[in-house]
């Protein structure tokens, strides 16, 4: 029965948005409790729906006609319900935390209004039953991301970061839209006879007609949709906006740029997995880009000193893992969706935790720079310990959530290599796992261990902020083990509900599913553990109180590699200074010339001719009455003569 109220999952946050934006400034704490309540109600509702549909393995599908051949609808299948649960749960905790974190900010009501709108849009994106509706919510979360990154809009860096995020994701969004358009035209060409209540862009219809669309078209559609995911999920080369997005409040970074919105791209690829599966070339692109991003972002995370930036690069890197996990689906089939989604869910717990801990530290210390921290654990026990839990999970320390989710992706990478899809992604992800452990514990040791390196403010955050941290820490540590198997079963078999035949799709894609069992050597099982624990030890040797080496022993200010990493591979120089200011500006100048000289020129010439002719003809109007009278009299005379002649001729 709860599923009849599924629309309230989005409806309540929308209501909270309307209330807080209009009345928030009159309410205590900017009406933030409304946002918390609405999101929490969404969580309860999602949980009840989950309890209804899980035992019998059902799905919820409601839809109504919208206009032309489109509909609006709600689709809650395993893939969507796990996202709904995660988003509502994490957002509830982050909103609660924000009640403490945003205390005293004059824009509090605006913050909670935009946060509610974001929550609503994200939930709407997750349970859309068709691609068009998904795209609309996709744009809406992009807008909220823009608004919240630029929350402190008086700060020039925040304003420009917001603009950058909006423009860079727009590149992806345009590709996404193009993908939808190509998919739609292909579907129209099929002249399908749709059953009652089915619409062209509904996922069910798309899955059903994959076999009928030409394979080369499928590859293009898949690549374009992946382009959208690249923009939203910060994959190389469109990841540049994500580190800059840290200009927003830390709660925003935790909610939008770590836990929920950036995973929308992964969710899109998972949702369209059958389409990608029928286009294995596109899926290999996903795998390579994901694996490359995982390594590429991890290297930059190694050298940053801004605590939030390290976490941002870490997010990019982990999103790369999720994408790569989906990409390996080319080798292992739909299980990849379960594996990747498990990492997504686990990651959102521990990354939200890490960001909130970082926020708690920043709240107390009032700086982002880790060089000015050190020894914070002494004054902030709870924050430090919960952050340790998050770091362990992120580094993939054995038996934490991250261990179960990330290692499974590494296993997929190995299998994908063994089945002949190339070993490079495996190399990337295993190296990235080592780097992840190193930068995570570098962050933790630099912040919480050692001696204070500046005279910062020493106090623990209030309990309204610590409570969510503790809850998230419990999930980050202990969620993985009990739920892993059931999760893979539940989400991995998601597409059975739609009757997707993966063997047929594999046949279209020109690859086959049943590979022989690959003997995995012992070292392979140990490698991820070695990477995780080894990274911890390396970081401890360099940065903790048990320090044996100094970072200056292997690198220095002049080290070219370090410089490249600190400059983030000169992406700013390449993208902004070279590409935007030279190439795009040059093109803009040329187009401006064409516009001014040719298009405007033609218009100006025509109008100049007309003005000239008019100026000449105007002289006829002399303003002298006699001239007019002469004209009238002469005209009348001619007319009379003509009439006379005419009547005479008639007479003749």
């Amino acid at each position: 029965m709860y599923q009849d109220y599924a629309y309230l999952i989005v409806g309540l946050p929308v209501l909270a948005f309307v209330l807080t934006i209009f009345l928030g400034w009159r309410l205590p704490k900017g009406g933030g409790f409304l946002t918390v309540l609405a999101t929490f109600a969404g969580f309860i509702l999602s949980f009840q729906i989950f309890r209804e549909i899980y035992p019998n393995n059902e799905i919820v599908h409601q839809s109504m006609h919208w206009f032309a051949s489109f509909n609006v609808g709600i689709l809650i299948d395993p893939l969507a319900i796990v996202m709904l649960l995660m988003v509502t749960f994490v957002c509830t905790l982050i909103h609660t935390y924000a009640l403490g974190y945003m205390e005293g900010d004059p824009g509090m009501a605006r913050y909670f209004a935009e946060a509610s709108l974001f929550t609503a849009a994200m939930l709407g994106l997750v349970f859309s039953d068709n691609l068009l509706q998904l795209f609309i919510f996709w744009e809406l979360v992009g807008l909220c991301s823009y608004l919240l990154i630029g929350f402190w809009y008086r700060k020039p860096s925040a304003a420009s970061a917001a603009k950058k995020a909006f423009l860079v994701t727009r590149v992806g969004d345009v590709m996404f839209l193009a993908g939808i358009v190509i998919l739609y035209t292909n579907m129209v060409k099929l002249n399908l006879v749709l059953p009652e209540g089915a619409y062209l862009l509904q996922f069910q219809t798309i899955y059903d007609s994959l076999a009928l669309i030409p394979p080369d078209q499928l590859t293009w559609i898949a690549l374009l949709l992946f382009g959208g995911a690249v923009g939203k999920s910060g994959q190389f080369p469109l990841h540049v906006w994500l580190p800059d997005a840290m200009e927003g409040p830390t709660t925003v970074s935790a909610m939008i740029h770590a836990a929920t919105m950036v995973t929308a791209g992964v969710y899109l690829v998972a949702r369209m997995f059958p389409l990608f599966y029928a286009a294995p070339d596109a899926l290999m692109v996903v795998a390579y880009i994901g694996a490359f991003t995982a390594l590429f972002a991890a290297t930059m995370g190694l050298v940053m000193f801004d605590i939030k930036r390290v976490l941002a690069y870490s997010t990019v890197s982990q999103l790369g893992y999720m994408m790569a996990g989906l990409g390996f689906g080319a080798a292992v089939g739909a299980t990849a969706v379960g594996v990747s989604m498990f990492h997504l869910i686990g990651h959102s717990f521990f990354k939200a935790l890490l960001f909130l801990c970082a926020g708690s530290v920043i709240h107390a210390v009032a700086t982002n720079d880790m060089r000015e921290m050190g020894g914070v654990l002494r004054s902030m026990k709870w924050t430090g310990l919960t952050m340790l839990a998050g770091s362990l999970a992120l580094a993939g320390f054995p038996l934490t959530t991250g261990f179960f989710s990330k290692d499974e992706i590494i296993i997929l990478a190995f299998e994908s290599g063994a089945f002949g899809f190339g070993w490079i992604p495996y190399l990337f992800v295993i190296l990235a796992a080592l780097l992840t452990a190193i930068y995570t514990f570098r962050l933790w040791f630099l912040t919480f261990d050692g001696e204070p390196r500046s005279d910062y403010h020493k106090h623990e955050s209030p309990w309204i902020m610590l409570g969510p941290l503790v809850v998230l820490a419990v999930f980050a540590l202990f969620m993985g083990m009990p739920s892993q198997g059931a999760f893979y079963d539940y989400v991995g078999n998601n597409f059975d509900h739609f009757g997707v035949d993966f063997e047929e799709l594999a046949y279209i894609g020109g690859h086959h599913v049943d590979h022989p069992y690959v003997q995995k050597p012992l070292i392979f099982w140990l490698l991820p553990i070695i990477a995780g624990v080894g990274g911890l030890i390396i970081a401890a040797l360099f940065y903790s109180r048990w320090k044996r080496f100094d970072p200056s022993m292997i690198t220095s200010e002049k080290d070219p590699i370090r410089k490249i990493l600190l400059k983030a591979y000169y992406q700013h120089e390449i993208y902004t200074l070279w590409f935007a200011e030279k190439v795009v500006y040059g093109l803009a100048l040329v187009s401006n010339m064409i516009d001014l000289k040719i298009i405007d020129g033609a218009v100006n010439k025509i109008s100049a001719v007309l003005v000239g002719v008019g100026g000449t003809l105007r002289k006829l109007q002399t303003g002298v009455i006699q001239n007019y009278i002469t004209a009238i009299v002469l005209g009348l005379a001619v007319l009379l003569i003509l009439i006379q002649l005419a009547t005479m001729e008639v007479a003749i």
Partner: protein
């Protein structure tokens, strides 16, 4: 009785004189006088035909036309005086402030 054609000839002659004046003169007063001549030639026609047709309608119209011509002359001269006050002349080709 004077034949109708004499009246028509007189009216035509007056019309021609008035039209000639209208086309050649520049002085506002002269132009108004020419317009009066044109008007009177038309009235002569009206009265003459009215008398020969045995129908008084034409003569009634003539009276109306004279009355309205008087009003028109009053307004016309008022405009001329106003023009003279502003421009110091009633030579109409000198008054060209609004011309290109």
């Amino acid at each position: 009785m004077i034949p109708l054609v004499f009246y028509v000839l007189l009216a035509s002659a007056m019309f021609a004189i008035g039209l000639y004046g209208l086309l050649t003169q520049r002085n506002g007063i002269k132009l108004m006088m020419c317009i009066e001549i044109l008007l009177n030639s038309a009235i002569i026609n009206l009265v003459a035909f009215s008398a020969y047709l045995p129908n008084v309608n034409g003569q009634v119209f003539a009276l109306f036309a004279i009355a309205i011509a008087a009003a028109e002359a009053a307004i016309g001269f008022a405009i001329m005086i106003a023009l003279y006050r502003v421009h110091g002349t009633i030579e109409l080709d000198k008054i060209n402030a609004l011309r290109w």
